[in-house]
Amino acid sequence: MHSEPLNDRNVSEQSAYYYVDIEEYPTTGWDKFKQVVKRTFRGELFVGLWVVMREMIKFDIHTVQYPKEKLPIGPRYRAVHKLLRLWESGYERCIGCGLCEKICISDCIRMDTKIDENSRKEVTEYSINLGRCIFCGYCAEVCPELAIVHGQRYENGSEQRAHFVIKDDMLTPLDFLTSGQQAEYPGFGSITPNESVTKTPLAY
């Protein structure tokens, strides 16, 4: 449907808006009595009874028995973050630029970097305080290397807040990578595996 008729909020011939037809509320006792009699004998109560009975007989149950059954969720669902690795080398994609730390509106990303022996920047610590994270997705959006992304893991349980969530948790394990289990987003903004994300050479 076109949105133009809806943009005109005035009730008129052209617009899609109209007044709902509401009967006058009865004021005198006799009118109220007539209303009750009408409602009583029109059988609406029995229509209600029939509707719920029909649903019970059809037994068309929609319950998902959650811990045993789970609904599929979309590939771009914004749950607990993942740190990805480069496909060809297995090296961490994160270059320690700090953009995610800067943009995070809840101020919940903390990272520590150092220059390693190849004078590359190495990320030593990377943690997200999930107790504060609002899962806005800004960190994933701003990351120039597609290093931090959101995953599909939405069930968290732990004894300590400190467990939410440290680098070892988020980083793709190496054996996962070699067996090809590191998932990428399909669709807009995604990478072509093995091609577009490669380690930047040191000497330009």
């Binding site: 109220k32 009750v36 009874l49 719920v52 009975m53 649903e55 019970m56 929609h62 319950t63």
Partner: protein, 329 residues
């Protein structure tokens, strides 16, 4: 009074207490399941097969939970109120025949605790005393929602008592006895003799009043969760709240028995088939309580009072007058 009679009575009392306490628990299970199926849900599924042990889990929870008495309540009244509800519900059961008399090992058992000649009057009176549970509990709670609920319960109970009493008058005039056994025997001839055929108006009126009596939807306004939290039960916890609950569900079963016995022929001629028919009728009325809860909206307190005083009571009076004229001529 001989020893055998006393022992027999005590055994009957214990059996009724145990059976109907258990039924009250099972009633909550059926209520959840039926409501769930009608709303395309599954209801309790996790404790035991098909969630059957949910009743046990709830029982353990109710029994072991801390019994909190809030600071500003009127303590003795607050403590006694749930007991009133549960106790009067079970006391009302004393005059209800649950089953035709039968013989075990040459000993004839009457499955009624006391066949008093004012049976139905006693049952209705006892159920009416049950109103003091919500009323006192709500007034003693020092909570405005409980207070509203107490005020509502007083208004509602006065309204429906008039209707239930007057609507029963017409069938009682025909039978000429207040004993539920006499009423049952009056209809022993089979389906054609059921009082519902000669007194359909009284049947409908009493049925409506039964909804107000047990406080079920559409007259569930004393403890209406979406308006006044849990009404009189707001400040209660643990087993005291559980007593309110047991009282309410036991009441539903007892009033179903009363309707089935007075209007639908009860256990008929006293054969085993008749007895099972009685159970079927009672199950239907109990199911109907759950059914309406899934289908119908609640009315406002003023609407309920308007309905009881201005519509149902005149109809009941007219019904009594017409019955009187028909019996005279």
């Amino acid at each position: 009074m001989d020893m055998a009679f006393i022992i027999e009575t005590i055994v009957k009392i214990v059996v009724i207490l145990l059976v109907f306490s258990a039924l009250a628990g099972l009633g909550t299970y059926f209520e959840r399941k039926v409501l769930a199926f009608m709303q395309r849900r599954l209801g309790p599924m996790h404790v035991g097969p098909f969630g059957l042990l949910q009743v046990a889990a709830d029982g353990i929870k109710l029994f072991t939970k801390e019994d909190i008495i809030p600071q500003n309540v009127v303590k003795p009244i607050f403590k006694i109120a749930p007991v009133i509800t549960a106790a009067t519900a079970f006391m009302a059961a004393a005059a209800i025949p649950f089953w035709p008399q039968f013989t075990v090992f040459g000993y004839t058992v009457h499955p009624i605790v006391a066949d008093v000649n004012i049976g139905i009057l006693y049952v209705l009176g006892m159920m009416a005393i049950g109103l003091y549970g919500p009323l006192l509990g709500g007034m003693a709670s020092a909570n405005k929602f409980s207070l509203i609920s107490a005020a509502r319960s007083a208004a509602v109970f006065i309204s429906y008592e008039v209707v239930s009493g007057l609507s029963l008058l017409a069938p009682l005039m025909m039978v000429g006895s207040l004993s539920l056994i006499d009423i049952n025997n009056y209809q022993a001839g089979g389906i054609g003799n059921w009082i519902v055929w000669s007194q359909p108006v009284a049947f409908i009126l009493f049925w409506i009043a039964a909804f107000a009596e047990t406080g079920r939807t559409p007259f569930h306004l004393i403890a209406n969760d979406h308006e006044i939290i849990d009404g009189f039960g707001t400040e209660y916890s643990g087993m005291r709240w559980g007593l309110f609950f047991i009282g309410e569900y036991a009441n539903m079963f007892f009033i179903s028995f009363v309707i089935a016995i007075i209007f639908l022929g009860g256990f008929g001629d006293g054969s085993i088939a008749g007895a099972f028919q009685l159970l079927l009728k009672v199950s239907f009325f109990f199911f109907f309580f759950l059914w309406t809860r899934a289908a119908w909206p609640d009315v406002r307190p003023d609407q309920l009072m308007w309905l009881c005083w201005k519509v149902l009571m005149p109809i009941a009076v007219i019904n009594v007058v017409i019955t009187g004229f028909v019996m005279m001529f």
